[in-house]
Symmetry: C2
DNA sequence: AATTCAGGTTAGTGCTCGTTAACCGAATTG
DNA sequence: CAATTCGGTTAACGAGCACTAACCTGAATT
């Protein structure tokens, strides 16, 4: 429930042993398995955010999800695969969500507003995943991180495309810096959240971040 | 040379074995030692930024500084002590620099401009240290990280004090969120810098970040 | 009801890595 | 010029950990 795509987008993303002999049949076991997988990803988000990828052992991960140790390998082929599934899921969610926002917007200004609201909402709702993303992406083997980076780049390009219509005539390189700066601004909240204690979702925080992001993006 | 306070602020900060029998005498050996220590901190900044604290071994660290393995323990009491010295140094530099900027400013508006320029300059010059700071601060044992966090908090308060004069009547909590958001915006550049390749210091990037930060901080 | 199979368990296994031990040679010191 | 300190070396130790092996049990299948 807490991590966005723990079950949904995660399943096709993770090429774990779970995909073997998938008959499509909905049995009691398959449900239990899906929920285990979701619990593992949720625990991974929390633990990786707290201690970093290398600071969490497979044993930690399993026991946080109610099983212990090597049972994790019934759901993921390796420890890296857990991180990969987590980051791929979140990146895919962001890309899908961003594209949907733009498609449902009547014009560029509304699209930019929508993107800002979407990103702020996401950052405030999933601080753990945000933190893992820009902390441990480099902990992945190159081939895995490339997939995540590709999704991430595509998401940035969604923003750049909108920005190029809001600020016509600006070079793409400048717009890309603008987009990254906005992400940094919006994603700054996980740095405030004191480890472990969830920050109450004050409305004024959401509004303040949106206004600052808007002002920064339209500056000059 | 590249990390700001490798030798200067690091010496009183790191309670390593180097402090023993410090006669103040400037001998050939002590100079060599200081430069070794600086080289170690510089290598640490680079390596920790690339692979994360837990992804770098003592052997890696030593050999990157021209010595190999356990020689590191002649300069630091532990691997954590290296990270601690690095982060303490940079946090102290930021605090000192920020205070100096404010003291030399005629008014709050100029002080805020000065702080922004200072932070942008620092972030563009030391992307490695920035990255290590908000990635591996939690890798420290609690007692060490508290010292760094105290310096960090003090630096934030310098910003908040200035902001409270630029935006009178705003609650401190709101100003603190503003300050953190500005840091996130300004420090976003390390996320663009592609691992290993140094980003050319384009002037427009510096100006753009300053304008965005200014607009964001004065928004609403 | 018999059989298969998938998801769980508890023991290893081999490797990495932080740290210490023991020793060495040169710069510093008296 | 002897004595000593100190920064460096290589060797070894011990812990932690990702991953594998062997086995067990109960749901799914026929």
């Amino acid at each position: 429930m807490s991590p966005s795509s723990a079950t949904g987008a995660g399943s096709p993303a993770g090429p774990g042993p779970a995909a073997s002999a998938d008959t499509g049949r909905v049995t009691g076991r398959s449900l239990a398995k899906a929920s285990r997988r979701a619990a593992l990803l949720s625990a991974a988000a929390k633990l990786f955010a707290e201690r970093g990828f290398n600071g969490v052992s497979i044993e930690d991960l399993g026991s946080a999800a109610g099983v212990s140790g090597p049972a994790v390998y019934r759901h993921f082929s390796s420890k890296h695969a857990v991180l990969s599934a987590l980051l791929t899921g979140v990146s895919q969610d962001l890309l899908d969500g961003g594209q949907a926002v733009v498609e449902n917007s009547p014009g560029p200004e509304e699209a930019l507003r929508g993107l800002i609201e979407f990103q702020v909402d996401f950052a405030l709702r999933n601080p753990d995943v945000i933190r893992v993303h820009d902390r441990d992406l480099d902990s992945l083997p190159p081939e895995d991180s490339q997939a995540v980076r590709a999704l991430q780049r595509a998401y940035v390009e969604v923003w750049v495309a909108v920005l190029s219509r809001v600020l016509p005539g600006q070079e793409p390189a400048r717009l890309r810096v603008r987009a990254h700066a906005a992400f940094g601004l919006i994603n700054s909240t996980p740095h405030i959240t004191h480890r472990g204690k969830p920050v109450r979702d004050k409305i004024w925080r959401r509004n303040l971040l949106e206004q600052m992001a808007w002002a920064a993006l339209k500056a000059e």
